[in-house]
């Protein structure tokens, strides 16, 4: 895939990317059963992603389950080895680094996981959990100094520092997610990958965590890669949004641009499928419903990967126009809508 001419929105051209991703690819092998376990195919989880994460910005990465958004987050931190491509941080390509070379860089790049029940060790106290990254990197210090550092981190994420001696099971889901955030912030990272950080929480709790992430970004100048399937949350928190489908970015734009002038049929379907908590608007809305299911990433469709479910492909395009969708993969470029989208027949549409 070649998409060097991705049009970046004007506001970010003068800023330096914290993380630059070029043509990132990840294939997971599918092996046969039995003793030999021959490689019989590949799951094309991430196929040629290119994007930048700028300083002090939130890039939302949205898509449905299985589109490769979590894999992308892990590739960015080199938690799983990439098949090919580059992730450039501070002038170095992380993909080529050994775990030992990677370790000092992990101070700057941290992750918050989705499930606050599985990501905290139940046998460690909150103080130990938050202090662990500091200890591993030799930054904890001792005695009062160490205690103060941990207390400060707990205060920063809105928890009562007096509760540091408790165990994770004594906290609610929202509080646990705050502990996970405190742990990620302990080493003062520059960029955070937030992998569905609020999806497991009830709405009233979720709002507090979203506000907290907002505050922390302003205070500490963090960059977020915010992975989520919830477009409402992304519209609230992100500056730019990348929409993924079957391992590829199909649309990348400034938030307002994307939600008011979505150009790719998949983005349009996604926005129109989200129920609005507003009965009058909900009654008068027209929906674009997709048919069928996401194709298997083991053998993705030729040309445009969305064509098997695309309402435009099925109902609007002529036979000749369809041939282009089947044979030619659409590049992620600006086709006159003011932002990049990967559809040969992109057309901006306002849906909310």
């Amino acid at each position: 895939m070649t998409a060097p001419n991705v049009a970046e929105p004007a506001v970010s051209t003068d800023r330096q990317p914290v993380l630059a991703v070029h043509d990132l690819v990840k294939h997971f092998p599918v092996r046969s059963r039995g003793l030999v376990r021959r490689r019989v195919g590949d799951v094309h989880a991430v196929c040629g992603l290119s994007f930048d994460l700028f300083e002090n910005e939130t890039l939302g990465l949205v898509g449905e389950s299985g589109c490769g958004k979590t894999t992308t987050g892990r590739l960015l931190l080199n938690l799983i080895p990439a098949t090919s491509g580059e992730v450039v941080y501070g002038g170095r390509n992380l993909v080529e680094l050994s775990p030992g070379q990677m370790r000092p860089l992990r101070r700057d790049l941290q992750i918050v996981f989705q499930d606050p029940f599985a990501s905290l060790d139940p046998r460690m106290t909150v103080n130990e959990i938050v202090a662990e990254p500091l200890r591993i990197h030799g930054l904890l210090g001792s005695g009062k100094q160490a205690r103060d550092k941990v207390r400060e981190l707990l205060r920063m994420v809105g928890l009562n520092p007096e509760h540091g001696n408790r165990y994770p099971h004594e906290f609610s889901g929202g509080q646990r997610q705050r502990i996970g955030i405190a742990r990620a912030l302990a080493l003062r990272p520059k960029a955070l990958v937030l992998d569905e950080p609020v999806s497991a929480l009830d709405v009233s709790i979720q709002a507090g965590v979203i506000n907290l992430l907002d505050d922390l970004q302003h205070e500490l100048g963090l960059s977020y890669l915010f992975i989520s399937h919830d477009l409402s949350v992304v519209r609230h928190i992100a500056d730019r949004v990348a929409v993924m489908y079957l391992g590829k970015i199909v649309e990348l734009a400034d938030k307002e641009e994307l939600f008011t002038r979505a150009a790719h049929p998949y983005t349009q379907a996604l926005i129109s499928a989200i129920p609005l908590p507003d009965p009058r608007k909900e009654r008068s809305r027209q929906r674009i419903t997709l048919t069928g299911d996401v194709p298997s990433p083991v053998s993705p469709p030729s040309g445009c990967r969305f064509r098997t479910r695309c309402p435009k492909f099925a109902d609007v395009l002529s036979e000749d126009e369809r041939q282009k969708c089947v044979n030619e993969e659409p590049a992620l470029i600006d086709r006159g809508q003011g932002h990049a989208s990967a559809c040969h027949y992109a057309e901006a549409m306002k849906l909310v």
């Binding site: 709405v203 009965p279 009058r280 909310v352």
Partner: protein, 366 residues
């Protein structure tokens, strides 16, 4: 004149017409540590063909309420109150007594289609099983009906799909099979417990469409249990908000969404990030967490999280008070002060999780 006809309408639906009447339902689970009061006096009426949403956060008792209606709770649960289907009492029935009602009169759709379908039988056989359980027809007829039902819920190539096993289908398709089973016997009430929570949004839209198709085909009333206020806004006529085992607000969707009269409802609406609104306005979360249902203090259970709390709230639990609209009720001593109040006036856009709740001063802001 209009008020009079309203009252008449109200009475008519109150007397004979309701398909499902739940009155003062309580459910308690005795445990080693004490009694968990999961449901504490829930009452609602469901008119024929009506769609009612029940919304609440995890642990608010919304699922337990409907499990009690279906008689699906374990024997250890202590259930009191009354559940009437077309005037017939359901509580206290024998297992066989419930079997006559389940599936035929009241059908249920559960959250996870993978666990509600049997993995070792084809979906066609499972739909036919539901038909054969209540009708004296041949297997052939049941099978034909299964194909018909799959077509109704929007499954392509139903003749082939009827022979599939659940694992051969995607999550959205499985949930549509569950809907097909629920509508198989033309029930009067369908209870859907978080039917789309495990699904992606585009698939959720398909499943909700299938659910609407099922309602149109059977004319069944719907109880839609969900935590997603958006789903309720689009698919329910009336809404019940639950908190700590009680209904705290009840009304039409328009009344509850546009003129909420219970601080908890306002808090929920203010916590929602909006897809349809630009800008980066701060959300207003509800600080704190729901109370444990084990040792509930007297008074309103929302008091510790409520910006309007007064001493009386800790002493006496409010009943459902009527508001200016008939049928719109709210369990708050101060519901009259919430007329025209927005969530932003009541709750603070905080990011902290601890600390006391700042009392709202509505007078100065209005």
């Amino acid at each position: 004149m209009t008020a009079e006809s309203n009252i008449q309408l109200d009475r008519r639906s109150a007397d004979g017409d309701a398909v499902l009447e739940v009155e003062n339902l309580t459910v308690e689970f005795p445990t080693e540590d004490g009694v968990v009061q999961a449901v504490r006096g829930v009452s609602y009426r469901l008119a024929p063909g009506e769609a009612m949403g029940i919304v609440g956060e995890s642990g608010s008792g919304k699922s337990v309420t409907s499990m009690a209606v279906m008689g699906l709770l374990p024997k250890t649960a202590k259930i009191t109150g009354s559940v009437r289907f077309r005037g017939e009492e359901l509580l206290g029935r024998s297992e066989n007594g419930f079997a006559e009602i389940r599936g035929k009169k009241i059908a249920m759709i559960f959250q996870d289609p993978l666990t509600s379908l049997n993995p070792v039988y084809t979906v066609g056989r499972q739909i036919a099983e539901a038909i054969l359980a209540h009708n004296d027809v041949s297997k052939k007829v049941a099978n034909d009906r299964a194909v018909e039902l799959l077509a109704t819920v929007g499954i392509p190539f139903p003749e082939q799909r009827v022979n599939n096993y659940p694992h051969e289908m995607s999550g959205g398709m499985r949930q549509r099979v569950v809907i097909a089973i629920a509508m198989a016997n033309d029930p009067d009430v369908i209870i859907a417990d978080e039917p789309t929570t495990a699904l992606d949004v585009t698939v959720q839209a398909q499943v909700l469409e299938a659910l609407e198709a099922a309602r149109a085909a059977t004319g069944a009333a719907l109880v839609l249990i969900t935590h997603d206020l958006g789903v309720i806004a689009g698919h329910a006529d009336r809404i019940c908000v639950m908190y700590a085992g009680k209904l705290v607000e009840k009304g039409t969707v328009d009344e509850v969404f546009y003129e909420p009269r219970m601080p908890y409802t306002l808090g929920l609406l203010g916590s929602l990030p909006r897809l349809d609104e630009a800008g980066r306005e701060r959300l207003t979360p509800i600080v704190g967490s729901p109370p444990s249902l084990m040792h509930l203090p007297p008074g309103c259970p929302f008091t510790p999280r409520c910006p309007l709390a007064q001493p009386i709230c800790e002493e006496r639990e409010p009943d459902l008070y009527g508001t200016d609209q008939p049928g719109h009720v709210a369990a708050c001593h101060f519901h009259e002060r919430l007329v025209g109040v927005t969530p932003g006036q009541l709750f603070r856009p905080t990011s902290a999780d601890t600390g006391s709740v700042a009392p709202a001063n509505l007078e100065t802001q209005q």
